[in-house]
Amino acid sequence: MVRTYFLLVWTWTRASAAYPASFALMCVLGFVTAALDVAVILVIFANTTTLAGFSRDEVLFLYGAAALPFTICDTFVSNIDRVSQHIKAGTLDTVLIRPVSAWVQLTADRFNANRIGRILQACLVLGYAVAALGLDWERTWMIPVMVLTGVVIFSALWTLGGALQFVLTDAPEVISSFTYGGLQLTQYPFSIYGRDLVSGVTYVLPLAFVNWQPGLYVLGRDDPFGTPEFLRFLGPAAALVLSLPAALAWRQGIRHYRSTGS
């Protein structure tokens, strides 16, 4: 399955590398558009020194820790976003009769290697923030864990979104509020949000475990909302708990899909 995935990814990459100039340009432009969010953070901190108790470098750390897993998923999983297009065009039927899992085929569908620019940008910001903050080295083991957790959480979200498109075929844009909205939400310290919203994204849709809860541990800070200390380490568990309904929903979607038969 993994081998098939990478074979498909490689095929799409070779296809897009047929136009090298366009490919290079898109890499650079991906870097630039991703940098706009950082530009917003920098503009905000040109006007203030702290935002809801967090300094510029701390916010950049949270941004990097959310953007890195997000951009990885955006590159490798988000292609599943096109389920509704496939349903409308009737191409989902072709996908289903091939002897490879539909999930693997759709996540590799029209794989876009030039999103590498965005991953690179997120890495740079995270690297800068880690260096600038002078973090406690005993706590940095959490950083790779939180990136992995984030990858699983965002992948689950996209899968859930893909599954929802079997129902919301005409309005796939709703899904963006949860995927791209998830990135927008996690870029900033949760202390700026209302208590209800934070409870929602901690206990219902576990976005708080992408970077906020583990990030508090890495930064050595207390939660302004007063959640207990052990929540900082629950990220991997939360990611698995979200993956389960996502996998089930995807399975349900595929099983109940009815072709128009034309």
Binding site: Y19, M26, D170, E173, S176, Q184
Partner: protein, 298 residues
């Protein structure tokens, strides 16, 4: 030559008379039924409106997403304005209003690009048909686009404002003159937005692949327009520069008109200036592609 007698002529067939009188079938078949200019464009505005009204579901989904992002951005701005009250001459309510009105502009101003069918028509060659129509391609597209903007203003623009009003409370002007200024500014902004996107679309004629230009345009229409953060809080001279560029005319200037910040007439004049410049460049571009397009018979 004597003309055929009317008695032998079958009235169902076109008359053989080369100069048919008014009202005959042949006359109707040969004479262009040209709409008068103003009714033609008014009709195109209506068609643009109706074309988008077909996709209510997609527009409402867009309104939902715009509202969700509005809520998330509002919290950021609230945190900033709590740290710096009165920043940019906005109070807290102004900042929240700014946030939701800019979200409301995404649809009508088509800030993420697109909205015109021109790039696909250039690639497929259909543009040749559009260019031989007895109406200007630019004005034709403008009329349709204004219809689209009007529809999205209602369906994608109003919901985020209601959400903002319900959750946080927003500023609503009460003075009719104030509304008049805002609505005028909004109309000019829609024209300026069209002018810019039309230029981006025409570039396909020379570049074939429009993705690069589209991304570049996205940077300008989101960041430099004041959609992401108010242009007033950009550092130093950059703020003044950004506020005098054409993209400010699409978001920041109409927003300030709504909030009642800054001089009304000067703001409208700056917007009108950029709208005129962009339309002028678009007219030159249209003329250039008329010379570039080659219709290969068949």
């Amino acid at each position: 030559m004597p003309s055929p007698t009317p008695a032998t002529h079958n009235p169902c067939l076109p008359s053989a008379n080369p100069c048919p009188g008014p009202g005959t079938l042949r006359n109707r078949a040969l004479t262009h039924r040209r709409c008068k200019t103003i009714p033609l464009y008014a009709r195109l505005v209506r068609y643009g409106f109706r074309k988008h009204a077909t996709y209510v579901g997609a527009a409402l989904a867009g309104a939902f997403t715009n509202s969700v992002f509005g809520i998330l951005r509002a919290y950021i701005l609230i945190a900033l304005w709590q740290a710096r009250p009165g920043l940019a001459g906005y109070d807290l309510i102004d900042a929240v209003t700014y946030c939701f009105i800019t979200q409301a502009f995404i649809g009508p101003m088509q800030l993420f690009g697109g909205g015109l069918g021109i790039p696909e028509r250039i690639r497929s060659g259909d543009i040749a048909l559009d260019l031989v129509r007895p109406a200007s391609l630019q004005l034709w597209s403008l009329a349709e686009d204004l219809g689209r903007a009007l529809y999205l203003f209602i369906v994608r623009g109003l919901p985020p404002m209601f959400v903002g009003a319900a959750l946080f409370g927003i500023f609503v002007p009460t003075d009719p003159g104030h509304w008049l200024a805002f609505l005028t500014g909004f109309m000019i902004a829609a024209v300026a937005s069209f002018g810019w996107r039309y230029l981006v679309a025409l570039s396909v004629c020379w570049l074939v692949d429009d993705r690069g230009v589209a991304v570049l345009s996205l940077v300008f229409t989101t960041f430099m327009s004041g959609m992401m953060v108010p242009l007033h809080i950009f550092p130093g001279w950059f703020a003044d520069l950004a506020r005098s560029l054409p993209w400010a005319a699409m978001v920041q200037l109409p927003t300030d008109l709504y909030l009642g910040k800054g001089p009304v007439l000067e703001t409208l004049a700056l917007q009108a200036f950029w709208a005129a410049v962009l339309l002028g460049l678009g007219a030159l571009g249209t003329r250039a592609i008329r010379h570039k397009v080659v219709i290969q018979g068949g």
